[in-house]
Each structure stands twice: as structure tokens, then as C-alpha cells.
């Protein structure tokens, strides 16, 4: 494996134990330095393309202060995964689909319950098997919400509130969802019929790859901030449900359509030169930039609706297994976060306040206390941040902090891969892994053993190291670690 071929290794300037800077002298065209948030061991474990890609991002017009990479960073295309960049809208700042990703609003959702491990253990296999049936996953899966193109266009305009209106969820869920589950300003006219055709049957589906739905356990020793955990409905020995998915084929088509459109005008019309075609971009205020932003918001809403519908299915399954209403089982939503998106935000820059278009690709917003983006429920304590680890190790619930202003209030999104899928499949067998995991108390149901092998825990960085780096760097703080006992692998 040679991810570093032909790549120059930068000399890092150590800002502190968890922040490393690559100066603008590293590469021609860098407008700002790059900063990687990581411990020394994490940064040494990153593949060389991360340095190349984060410094490519630093060349984009309008970028402010730094091109950032989070501790779980690994190579992607265009931006690295874990890449964060804010562009000054008034200064010709660009918007780039490559800074958001193909899976627009890929994100995480966490549901609490009143159930303990003892309550769930005897029913675990039945719950996981039923979830596998109720939440379709894998290649070619279709959801239970049947919509024609016109109906789907309503969903992409309205997002999760559409679902709640149609009985798929509770009004309270919206208070615990980023943007209350609707990215205002979505405009279906900016979306191709092709994107609609691809997505209209997929609401309520998990997807595949690293997408999953997990039953997790709150071990008493894994609660780091007891007061905040309690406030958010988390208690020792509790069972919670977490899942990871996005805007499915709809978002992927929006990204494909606009990458092609931007590539056709970027140089000829806007004289922008880039170092990787996946960094295709256009000035945010240009007709193309605005059109993409409106289409991206449609994909944001599709994804919110997708996760909202899945929540409904999860509640149905638990309700059936335990013979009680989901309300009685205490299945409230803790939070829902996106880790692939762009948004207009106000941030302090050089003593003033600027309006920026913030790109987060494989990076989670972690707004600190008092930020206007937070609903009243979370404004005093900061945003709940859900970070999914590998299916073998565990995931985390964190909180946004004031010192997160350094990264535009952004933190990591997952463990970050350290091994390619091809390599993981050579090293692991899905059926063996499934048996081993069951022996360790994690029951996995999957439609693809090859896909399971690709998601082996050893293919990822240690989630504890990643989270510790975000905590120590002051971009988010630990609240609780959640360990899997059941997994539906997409």
C-alpha cells in the first residue's frame, strides 16, 4: 500500500500537543496555512494524501484563517475526510461540492430509551433481526414511504417536519435535530429530475458501506460528564440506539450534477484554477454557486427526512418487541447531527464578525454554549455531538465548547479509516468476524459478509484516541462513550 507515493511530507510546526501547522511555503498557491488537530501518534498514522489534500483546500479562493483537518482525518478526494474550511462570502469565497461530499448530510442520530441492558439482552437478536427487516439496507434497497416525484419534491422542500406531519415521528424530535430538521432555502427547481428519480424510493433506507444502525450500552464507567449526560436523558446501564446514514442516491446525484456543472464553468467563466477536479467550485454568490447551495439544502432535507423515518421504524420495532408504546419506553431523540454540509454562519475573524460559508466534510458542527444555531434546549450547555466509531469498538456523545471557535465550532465525525477496503477484505472474513463479535457480546446482522469484513474494527483508528484528541484540543468535550451490543450493518 503506498498512499504517500510522489507526495512531499510537510514539516509541521507544532502549535501545541494537539495542533500542527503546515505553512503556506509548503505548496504554491496556498492562501492560508493548514492546521491538523491530532495527537502526535494520530498525525503520524494519517496517510500522506491528507497533507496533500488539506493544503489543496488552502488554495481555494476566499478561504479564511486556515484549512483544517480533524483528528479522524484520512484521504478523500478534493477535501480530505475531516476537512473544514470557511470562505468569506464578501471576498469572493467559493462553495465546493467536494468540501461537502457526495453523501450530502450524511449524519448520525441518537435515540435514548428507559431500558437497561437486563431488559434488552433477552430480546437482542429479535430486535436486531426486526430492525434489519424494517430498515432496508444494501444495494438497491427501497423504503416503505411510497412517493411519486411530486410528493418527493415536497419532502426535499420540507425535510423532517414533513415526516412528523405524516406520523413518522414526534414534534419533539425536531427540537433535537440540527436546523430542526429543515434547511431553509431549499429550492427543488435547482434539482434535476434525475436526482428525484434516483431518490424518491429511498426514504427510510440505511444505505451500505459504513452506514449502520446500532443498539448500544451505557456502561457506568463510560460516563464522563454525569450532569450533562443526565440532562440529556442518559443514565448508567441504559440502552440507546444510534444510526448513521445520509441522503442516499438523491444527494449523490445532486453532487454529481453540480461537480460537472462547476467543472464546465470554473475556469472559463470564473478563472479559478484548482489542484484536484474534486475541488470544483464556483463563487458562492454566483448563479451556479447559489443554485448548488439550494440543491444541497434539498439533499439536506432528504437526509433529515430519511433519518426521521428510520426513527419511526426503530420505535415501531421496540414497541412491538416490548409490547409498549415508544413513549412509555422513553424513546426520545437525544440529537441528530450532519457531518457533510455547508452552512452560512457568523464567526469572529480578526476582531470583527464575518459571514462565512463553512464547509464540513466528514466533520461535525459542535456549537458552543450561547450560539444562535442551537435550540433553547441546548443553548446553555452546547450542542450534543454524536461521533460513530467502528462497529467493534464504540461511539461517543460529546458536547460543543466555547473554545471550539478556533475550528468554526467543528470537531471529528468518526474513527477515520487507516486501512483500505480492499486490504480489509484480504485480511478478514465477514462470517468469521460475525462469529467473533457475537462471542464478544455484539450481535451483527448483515446482508453482505464482504461488506462486513470491510468495516472490521482494525480498519479504523482507535476511537478513544480520536475523541481524546478532540477533548484535549478543546474543540469538543466528552460526555459518554457508548458500546455496541447489536448492529445492523448496511
Amino acid at each position: 500500500m503506498d498512499f504517500n507515493r510522489e507526495l512531499k511530507k510537510p514539516s509541521f510546526r507544532k502549535i501545541n500537543d494537539y495542533v500542527w501547522e503546515i505553512g503556506t511555503d509548503f505548496k504554491a498557491g496556498m492562501r492560508v496555512p493548514a492546521r491538523i488537530f491530532a495527537s502526535e501518534s494520530l498525525i503520524n498514522a494519517m496517510d500522506g494524501m491528507v497533507y496533500d489534500q488539506v493544503t489543496n483546500v488552502a488554495t481555494l479562493p476566499g478561504i479564511v484563517k486556515y484549512a483544517y483537518c480533524m483528528p479522524d482525518g484520512h484521504s478523500g478526494y478534493g477535501f480530505p475526510i475531516g476537512g473544514v474550511a470557511a470562505m468569506d462570502i464578501e471576498d469572493g469565497g467559493v462553495i465546493s461540492p467536494g468540501g461537502i461530499g457526495f453523501d450530502i448530510n450524511c449524519g448520525m442520530r441518537l435515540l435514548r430509551t428507559d431500558l437497561t441492558l437486563k431488559d434488552v439482552q433477552p430480546h437482542l437478536k429479535r430486535i436486531v433481526n426486526k430492525l434489519f427487516e424494517s430498515v432496508p439496507s444494501g444495494v438497491g434497497s427501497k423504503g416503505f414511504v411510497k412517493l411519486d416525484a411530486q410528493g418527493f419534491r415536497k419532502v426535499i422542500d420540507e425535510g423532517a417536519p414533513w415526516c412528523v406531519e405524516h406520523g413518522y415521528g414526534w414534534a419533539d424530535d425536531l427540537e433535537a435535530t440540527e436546523l430542526r430538521g429543515r434547511d431553509d432555502g431549499a429550492d427543488g427547481k435547482a434539482v434535476s429530475d434525475k436526482a428525484v428519480e434516483r431518490g424518491k424510493g429511498q426514504i427510510g433506507t440505511l444505505g451500505s458501506g459504513n452506514h449502520y444502525l446500532e443498539i448500544q450500552h451505557v456502561r457506568p464507567e463510560n460516563i464522563f460528564d454525569e450532569a450533562l449526560a443526565r440532562k440529556w436523558g442518559i443514565f448508567p446501564d441504559q440502552i440507546v440506539v444510534m444510526f448513521h446514514c445520509g441522503s442516499r442516491g438523491f444527494g449523490h446525484q445532486v453532487a454529481t450534477d453540480y461537480l460537472n456543472q462547476f467543472l464546465s464553468v470554473m475556469e472559463s467563466k470564473y478563472k479559478i484554477k484548482i489542484l484536484d477536479r474534486e475541488l470544483a467550485c464556483a463563487p458562492f454568490t454566483s448563479p451556479e454557486g447559489q443554485s448548488y447551495f439550494k440543491a444541497m439544502k434539498c439533499a439536506m432535507n432528504m437526509s433529515f427526512a430519511n433519518r426521521q423515518t428510520i426513527v419511526h421504524r426503530v420505535r415501531e420495532v421496540f414497541s412491538e418487541v416490548f409490547g409498549q408504546d415508544a413513549e412509555k419506553l422513553g424513546m426520545r431523540q437525544v440529537y441528530d447531527v450532519s457531518h457533510n454540509r455547508a452552512s452560512i454562519e457568523k464567526h469572529r475573524v480578526d476582531g470583527g464578525v464575518k459571514e462565512l460559508i463553512v464547509h464540513r466534510k466528514g466533520a461535525t458542527a459542535a456549537y458552543g454554549p450561547g450560539r444562535e444555531e442551537l435550540t433553547a434546549r441546548f443553548r446553555d450547555d452546547g450542542q450534543p455531538v454524536i461521533i460513530g466509531g467502528s462497529m467493534e469498538t464504540g461511539s461517543y456523545l460529546l458536547a460543543g465548547v466555547a473554545s471550539g471557535a478556533e475550528t468554526w465550532f467543528t470537531t471529528a465525525h468518526g474513527s477515520g479509516r487507516t486501512m483500505s477496503r480492499t486490504r480489509a477484505k484480504q485480511l478478514y472474513r465477514g462470517d468469521t468476524l460475525q462469529k467473533e463479535m457475537e462471542g464478544r457480546g455484539i450481535y451483527v446482522k448483515t446482508g453482505s459478509f464482504a461488506g462486513l469484513a470491510e468495516e472490521a474494527g482494525a480498519a479504523y483508528k482507535n476511537i478513544d484516541d480520536v475523541i481524546e484528541a478532540t477533548h484535549q484540543a478543546g474543540i469538543s468535550k466528552k460526555v459518554v462513550k457508548l458500546v455496541p451490543i447489536g448492529n445492523v450493518k448496511g
Partner: protein
């Protein structure tokens, strides 16, 4: 018609190299590589569904990108995966036109050994080249 999956080009996704003596062979190799990311063996597919598409692009590179993107679209929108391809390339104005007649089958999880879903074709490192009468493509697909 040959393809091989590549190490070292992508950490989280799938990279492959596809070759052929003609553009047609190279396109079919690329399509088969992508299908075999999603399905254990392309021979699992029947041929009762027929689909015809016409694509226009300024060059062979963009045409291959559009062709693979169209296959991904048909996989999601119509649940189709293909086993047989009849491809014809013609010059069209300053660019190229591809007429494709494809035969395959609708995805059936009860019948097919499905693997990982493909989301998109990346432009990162995407390359098509002709050298000494042979065609080669390097492709990264997002999964």
C-alpha cells in the same frame, strides 16, 4: 475483459484500473469492475431487461465518467444491473456520442449476492488514456 482493483489510491472507497484493446472493451471492463463492487459475480445476472442510452461528451474521459454515472443512476432509479453491453462510438460535432444497448436484470436480494452500494464516480485521479493501441482507465468510485 480485464480490470483489477488498486491499492494505494483511496482509503475509504474503491479504485480500479480497466483496460481494453478498444474503447468499447475498456468501457465494458470499467462497467464490470463497478458491477462487481456491488455484486459477487456478474454471471448471477440474467439478461431479460434491455435498456438503451445515448450519451454525448467532449472527449473519451468525460464519456466514460458519464457512462458509469448513468449505470449508477439506473441502479438506483430502476434497480438495474447489467451483464451485456453493445456499445457504438461515433464522432458527434466536436465530441463523441455513445449508443449503448445493455441487457441485465433487476436487483433481487433473494437471488443476488449483493456487496456494497456505489454512490458516485469520483473525478479524483480519474484518467483515460490510449497508448500503443491499448486503452486504460483509472477510476475511483465512492461507496
Amino acid at each position: 475483459m480485464p480490470y483489477q482493483f488498486l491499492e494505494g489510491l483511496t482509503m475509504a472507497d474503491i479504485a480500479f484500473e480497466a483496460t481494453g484493446k478498444t474503447p468499447e472493451e475498456m468501457f465494458i471492463s470499467s462497467a464490470n469492475a463497478m458491477t462487481c463492487t456491488q455484486l459477487q459475480d456478474v454471471r448471477e445476472l440474467g439478461t431479460k431487461e434491455k435498456k438503451e442510452i445515448v450519451l454525448n461528451a467532449p472527449d473519451m474521459e468525460k464519456l466514460l465518467h458519464d457512462f458509469l454515472s448513468e449505470l449508477i443512476f439506473l441502479k438506483d432509479a430502476e434497480l438495474l444491473l447489467f451483464r451485456e453491453y453493445d456499445l457504438k462510438f461515433t464522432k458527434s460535432g466536436a465530441g463523441l456520442e455513445l449508443n449503448a444497448v445493455m441487457k441485465g436484470e433487476r436487483i433481487d436480494p433473494k437471488k443476488h449476492h449483493l456487496l456494497v452500494d456505489v454512490k458516485a464516480v469520483s473525478w479524483h485521479k480519474f484518467k483515460v488514456e490510449e497508448r500503443d493501441g491499448a486503452w486504460k482507465a483509472v477510476v475511483i468510485i465512492d461507496v
